[in-house]
Symmetry: C2
Subunit: 601 residues, 2 copies
């Protein structure tokens, strides 16, 4: 008996975790096996979601519980779910929590699994995406990316909201779909997913600028979608309903700005802490400590933002972007390689876990609310909103860009708007009422549709549109002209460059001009305190130079590619790392082999 009870306790967590681990293993092996047979169409996210579905089905078949209570059931449509059994958690006399198997079938938003999933795996995924972004390309395309991410997401949200509002009028009137609900769904659906988009792009190796536009947009529009969702919720809670209320709208707008700026600053603060810590201490002598501190501080940016009620994803994204720009320059090469590999593993396993879990919930969650009209409306409006977002914005951007975004790129961008973890995260927060559960179910179905159908069709689509694939991520020279000419006027870029090069770099890293020169006389004390404590060693000098070269004319890269056999392997490796590897998480790094070959020379 006692041993049985003991076993029961351990089972609580060990068994589901074991199931999840097995699922991840099967996913990894089958994707890898399928890819070996040249099935280019499979992607990890889709396969993980498929196995998740199977697991959910199995669990549901084994534990068939009719006695589910779905909250907010005001209609009599789903009668079988309307029976007793209110408490999903039993409390034993001693106050122990006994996790009921059915616990998250009707309330996914509060469970252990989700909390672990989102706090443990989501930050490294987003961080990895931002951290491995090709900085130079990103800055070159920054204007376009920001336009798509900000204006595009807002257009998309409005467009889906309006469409869905129209569709809900076609539905039986028992459902109380307000405009705010439709806008909420619009905001949720506007978040294209960096995880799946990244998986897709790095598998197919599309054109680098298309890659940057799509990935940059998907990373940044998460932030916008999250903040929009918050803002709409804030607006809703003012009980404004359908009548336009300027106060509530202003409140929502202030909230939008506050969350965005707060999260951005929080991410930046953690970068500054990491950069100063790695600059002024000798942490770089111990790569294990360096890696741990870097990892913990980057993760903290997410956790602290969530704890403050800000957006963790936005914070960790900005943290990743700035860490890759500044802190990386203070790290040892060993530490840099370790950090990259650590985040790579987390990113890989996290992607599989999150998509597997989404598939699982799709069949396990028993309080789904399928509304065929709403679903077909969603299907249509998702494409429509993306067209309304990409085509006009690309037209406007092309007016300013010397190097236009081709039409075929625009077509593909409409196609490649996969939805994923962030949409799920936003939808799962509220499943109390019938309306929110309709939104949740539809979101899950849309995620499944975009991942399976659009993700699989991406490869044939690329061929049809005649967009070149299989591009070497390090191939930089040929479309050189494209990246220098952006739509941004010189003054903005000049301002950014001087802030970055003259002040941020010298304060946070060992690179850039000495602070005593760039700062005015009055800040002499500040300049002396933050000046680099060590004389620049050869390696660092080289690093800074390469970095500087990359930001202007890509000299470092060209040089090293022309003379790769002459240059020593160490600097080559550093550069690869600085280059961000273009987010190709699955590409193997072979520092050993590389150095081995140069040894034989």
């Amino acid at each position: 008996m006692m041993s049985g009870a003991m076993q029961q306790k351990q089972d609580n967590v060990a068994l589901p975790v074991f199931a999840a681990v097995t699922l991840a293993l099967i996913t990894i092996l089958s994707v890898w096996k399928l890819k070996q047979f040249k099935y280019k169409l499979v992607n990890e996210a889709g396969v993980a979601m498929f196995y998740g579905l199977l697991l959910g089905l199995t669990v549901r078949l084994i534990w068939t519980d009719k006695g589910e209570q779905c909250p907010g059931n005001t209609t009599a449509t789903n009668e079988q779910e309307n029976t007793s059994d209110i408490s999903m958690v039993n409390i034993t006399p001693h106050g122990h929590i006994r996790n009921d198997k059915r616990q998250f079938s009707s309330h996914p938003e509060e469970t252990f699994d989700l909390q672990v999933l989102f706090n443990l795996f989501l930050p490294p995924i987003i961080f990895h995406g931002a951290y491995t972004l090709n900085q130079k390309r990103f800055i070159a395309n920054l204007g376009s990316v920001l336009t798509y991410a900000f204006a595009g997401t807002i257009i998309s949200c409005m467009c889906i909201g309006a469409c869905m509002y129209g569709f809900t009028k076609l539905m039986p009137p028992k459902e109380e779909f307000l405009l705010t609900h439709c806008l909420l769904f619009g905001a949720i659906m506007s978040a294209t997913d960096p995880v799946s988009v990244l998986g897709l792009l790095s598998d197919l190796r599309v054109d680098l600028d298309l890659h940057m536009l799509l990935f940059g947009e998907s990373v940044l529009n998460d932030a916008v979608a999250i903040v929009l969702t918050h803002a709409i919720t804030t607006y809703t809670q003012m009980d404004a309903g359908l009548i336009f209320d300027p106060t509530a709208f202003l409140h929502a707008f202030v909230f939008f700005l506050g969350v965005l700026i707060g999260s951005f600053l929080l991410g930046l603060i953690f970068t500054v802490i990491t950069a100063l810590l790695t600059k002024f201490t000798r942490l770089h002598e111990n790569p294990l400590l360096e890696t741990s501190v870097f990892f913990l501080l980057s993760w903290s940016s997410y956790l602290s933002a969530e704890a403050c009620g800000l957006s963790g994803i936005v914070a960790v994204m900005f943290c990743g972007l700035s860490q890759a720009r500044y802190t990386v320059l203070n790290l040892s090469s060993e530490g840099r390689a370790r950090i990259k590999q650590l985040f790579e593993v987390f990113n890989f396993l996290g992607e599989i876990s999150i998509f597997g879990y989404m598939g699982y919930i799709l069949l396990k969650f028993t309080c789904h609310k399928f509304e065929p009209v709403f679903i077909s409306g969603a299907l249509l409006s998702v494409f429509l909103s993306r067209a309304f977002n990409i085509y006009p914005l690309s037209f406007l951007l092309n007016l300013g860009r010397t190097n236009k975004i081709p039409c075929k790129f625009q077509h593909f961008m409409i196609f490649a708007g996969l939805r994923g973890a962030v949409a799920f995260r936003l939808a799962v927060k509220e499943t109390d009422t019938e309306v929110t559960r309709t939104i949740f179910t539809t979101t899950l179905l849309m995620i499944g549709f975009t991942i399976w159908v659009l993700g699989t069709a991406a490869d044939p689509m690329l061929r049809r549109l005649d967009i070149r694939v299989g591009v070497d991520p390090d191939e930089n020279q040929e479309d050189h002209s494209f990246e220098i000419a952006t739509e941004r006027p010189d003054t903005t870029q000049g301002l950014w460059h001087s802030l970055d090069y003259k002040y941020l770099k010298p304060v946070l890293t060992h690179c850039g001009p000495p602070l005593t020169e760039s700062l005015p006389q009055c800040c002499g004390v500040f300049a002396r305190v933050f000046s680099s404590p060590r004389v620049q060693e050869d390696e660092e000098e080289e690093l800074c130079e390469i970095e500087a070269g990359k930001n202007t004319l890509d000299l470092g890269k060209t040089e090293s590619q022309q003379g790769s056999s002459e240059s020593d392997s160490a600097s080559e490796h550093q550069e690869d790392l600085l280059d961000g590897d273009l987010g190709l998480g699955t590409a193997p790094v072979h520092p050993r082999e590389a150095s081995g070959s140069s040894t034989q020379l």
Copy 2:
């Protein structure tokens, strides 16, 4: 309101995790800073526990709740804790679980934190310990290690049990301390902790054989202590009480053997799966996949054992030992380095988290039961039992060993019996009654005492005993004679060698003689199926040779050390990895630098 509720939900996990992360960061930085100032006395475990104490104190001062209910309070000693408030978990009308802040103050055993801690961090710590064990040294000292671990732990358990039973007779008779309770405490206290012992040993770099004896014992006696605890619990539940019941005893003994063998086999099964997977597929072409699969399968050994009611620690330990012996030979060098670094980070962060948590619980848990007699009895009996264990067994072992275990080693081994995570894990399982809570509190105090007092005094003690410290972990030649001569007769080692070399190696790896030769004619089909599918490449051939050399006369090592500048860096690196690095988790690996220097030649 809604946004407040949203925030509330997110706070649930993000805030405590953020506190934990901050705690870990502060620990890392202060230990590292203290070590820079040559304070050799500090260890991560102690500092983490100290900061955990501070956090626990803070939390307790902020949330002062008198309304605690400690289960099983039959006496009136702690009146203030005897007030109402039974349910620690509030259920909202919709069935949401709202984690009350006080939840784990009286019931630590069931909480989120502990489950995550033990399922996430304990397996990598134990795995890392076993995986990085110097295999050759371990096998050379296997007999002694097994004697200490098995006979020693049983002696220790009996001895503490008997002592404590004597001490409980001195206590006021209201407490119902049975002999089985005392034996349970004995079993809990017998588990010397690999995490803290490893930390201590690698910081001080003691003599390699002393290292092996202490670390090997601490890893293996966990297994014995866990199984003993289970067995005693099984025996107790038979209601045998004080009367010796042969049936219950037999049952407990069968249980002991069953759990031990079951866990061992489970660990082995996962190694076989990993080895065959890495041998017969081309996983080694993608280091990220290789690392992920290896990591997940190794972790699975723990989870599946826990899910089956076996001992996860034992399973993951055997898995680590066998993975390091067989699977490692199938991995790519890149994958091998990644796996090592991944487990290193997990081990490092896990150690800090677990000890930090122990300190936290020590002050946060409000249902402590301090029994001065019991505590002082424990203090005495812990030293006494260790003396009864080490001295007689060393005497017996020295009869068989050609190379004796010196007296000073024996003194230090008594001293270095630190307790930690495993003891905590065993004690925290049961805190329902006053007796079990007395045991829990005493265990926590003993862990604190051994970590702080003994851990800090280890360095002066070593100097006093004149045991050499600062030994280079790769220094193998000089005490060569010591390791060949063990107390094991040749036949046993011969049998093991032939099983290992003739059958296991060829089946699981690309090394060893072809199976078609070693297996009898009748197993021809089996031999053909499991034969290495690829012709041995040069690198592998070399790897197997080095490995073979290491097992017999350490030729590979000597050769590479004499001619390190001539041999190419790749094989050198592989060897380092094979050598297991002696569990020096904190020692930086500089493959880049090493290859850089050889490039310049």
